[in-house]
Subunit: 421 residues, 2 copies
Amino acid sequence: MTNTEIEQLITGMAAKGRKAARKLAALPTAIKDSILLDAAKELEAQRDFIKAENKKDVDAGREKGLSLAMLDRLTLSDKVINSMIQGLHEIAALPDPVGKMDEMKRRPSGITVGRMRVPLGVIGMIYEARPNVTIDAAALCLKAGNGVLLRGGSEAIHSNLALAGLLQKVLAAHNVPAEAAQVIPVTDRYGINVMLAQEQFIDVIIPRGGEGLIRFVTENSKIPVLKHYKGVCHMYVDESGDVATGIRLAMNGKTQRPGVCNALEGMLIHKSIAPCFLPAAAKELMAAGVELRGCEQSRAIVPEIVPAQDSDWGTEFLELKMIVKVVDDMDEAIRYIEQYGSQHTEVIVTNSYANSQRFLREVDASAVMINASSRFNDGGQFGLGAEIGISTTKLHAYGPMGLEELTTRKFVVYGAGEIRQ
Amino acid sequence: MTNTEIEQLITGMAAKGRKAARKLAALPTAIKDSILLDAAKELEAQRDFIKAENKKDVDAGREKGLSLAMLDRLTLSDKVINSMIQGLHEIAALPDPVGKMDEMKRRPSGITVGRMRVPLGVIGMIYEARPNVTIDAAALCLKAGNGVLLRGGSEAIHSNLALAGLLQKVLAAHNVPAEAAQVIPVTDRYGINVMLAQEQFIDVIIPRGGEGLIRFVTENSKIPVLKHYKGVCHMYVDESGDVATGIRLAMNGKTQRPGVCNALEGMLIHKSIAPCFLPAAAKELMAAGVELRGCEQSRAIVPEIVPAQDSDWGTEFLELKMIVKVVDDMDEAIRYIEQYGSQHTEVIVTNSYANSQRFLREVDASAVMINASSRFNDGGQFGLGAEIGISTTKLHAYGPMGLEELTTRKFVVYGAGEIRQ
């Protein structure tokens, strides 16, 4: 395809998506839910076809020499298909955010004014290898009354197009324009640029993938982007912290699933508890295969800690490595988090009421926790039902984004002929 | 100043603003309020100085041949200074949004999770001739715990710098870094470009002024922009609408203050009520000096209506002109609003329950009203206390933006050592 053809194709898809989204916005909850449940049935019915299309992607990926981890993410196994089906059921069961009214109040002028939740419009999703995102993200967007334009990676194109065909069949069966959920069939990078210029038709872009993809999207988008680059999460053990709790949270935060954004990448330890906490914590973490990289003070207590390089501070390891730093006080811990954190998740281990409240107030991160594992920063764990992503920027959404974050609120006014004086 | 010097100056100011904002974020409400009340006192004390500085701007403006309307907006009369003082008192009296926690709930894992309102960080304001915005906007930003970087028009530079000096004196007296509120002292356009590239230090840009300024800001900003371009507001009179109500709302919407964004620019009238409504409405509007420009059907009923040009549909007149269109039904009215509205304010005049509910749900605008004047779309009228602007885009804020829209919410977790299974 020439660039002009790509422009025409994607602009046309975005425009049709906008039009379809207007229909979706006014759709009753019951119809949206039956679309989701029918999509679940259709996934079951088309299981063999979806797996066959997916096999084309996996075979091509193997030939191209994709890593085992990449191939794993790419594969739509029965287990992954089952979880997509379950996800559709779960999203259908969630309360519909659209139409919810609150803050209704009578004003001195006589009017009654309040706010009504309405869909955002059209969501543009840009993601990499996981084809299950096609169903998960589309389902959340549709439930919130939004059209969705999906642009997955080239490795997953057969899978994504098969899944889009399935969704569109179900939409059409419910008299909803099929363009409410579309997968862009071209996957070269120029297509992303074209997509990011459709500010007339797309309301928000949600990228999911590596930091490189997200930076590319942010730098080139004319449309607002909801994103997080990375998760550099810390746990601060203050002088009153419970040692056993600190060790348990460190182990869970670092070792339960080291490759995810809410895994711990560092421990900050108050100097007065370090001699007690560090030897026990280091022993357990090291026994689990964690490499600790620390400051001089930490190495004076536990010599097995590797000296930290300058580049280690603020690094998202995503593997069994972790920095350790002994700090003089909470001020130093908060300053360190300001400098090296990624506004994702920050944890304090403390038994001091005053310290817990101060940490909660002053630390700037999408989730701030007292005596709980950083691994809880997740839409499901927080009770949002499902998440479409996580935001570490503050505008519109900060933290995991669920159905509500895919909507906005307009003002509604009930009058009886009132005029402004 | 060379471009390099401007870059250094503005980057330095933005960086210091970010640092000062961290202090502000943790400031107790009582201190923020006494800063605002002391600023009010200081305005009274410095009244003559402020007026003298403002006179320099007004004299220069007169020499440059600014229009009377521009000179009027530029002038800090005693009345305007009084309203700034009153505004400071009102903002001090508003509840502090920062620290408010809600949606606290216990999760099956044992953690308690909720959301806490926190400041956005640093707000960049870009505005034109009105120097009173310097105080009004800074006061709202400070109350919400945000730093503010203000860039006013060149015509008002003496006034703006004098007002910034006043604010900084008060901030310093309360041990808050003066850089919490800064006015950029250079006013050439390149400075705006530099400001719009400070995404590292500025969290959101709020432009206030003409459509040209706002388009320039939106197209050049790397920082999210909260804005509205224009207000093309309509009133739809359905077949069940009360004629007297329709006329009252049309008069109020068009004539009470025609130059503002929530003034009415058009009337859509159901064909079956048009013969009854239009003659009476046209008579009253024309008697008030309003020029009506209408479709053929409207002219068949009231021949004095001027034929509308194609360019009239969707125009923001901001003066005593208004389009009139007879429509077949509500579908046509809603389609017209979709095509020509600006997602600002849309009004229905009706006595039909079903039509009122459908209009409320389906019309996409920051405020949708039943039997009330479009002129009510205003932060004060809606009970937000004061507004820093209005947004007609949906991300983060849709409609008038008050203190709450200058904040965001982070997740907070109270745990007792829980880990993720």
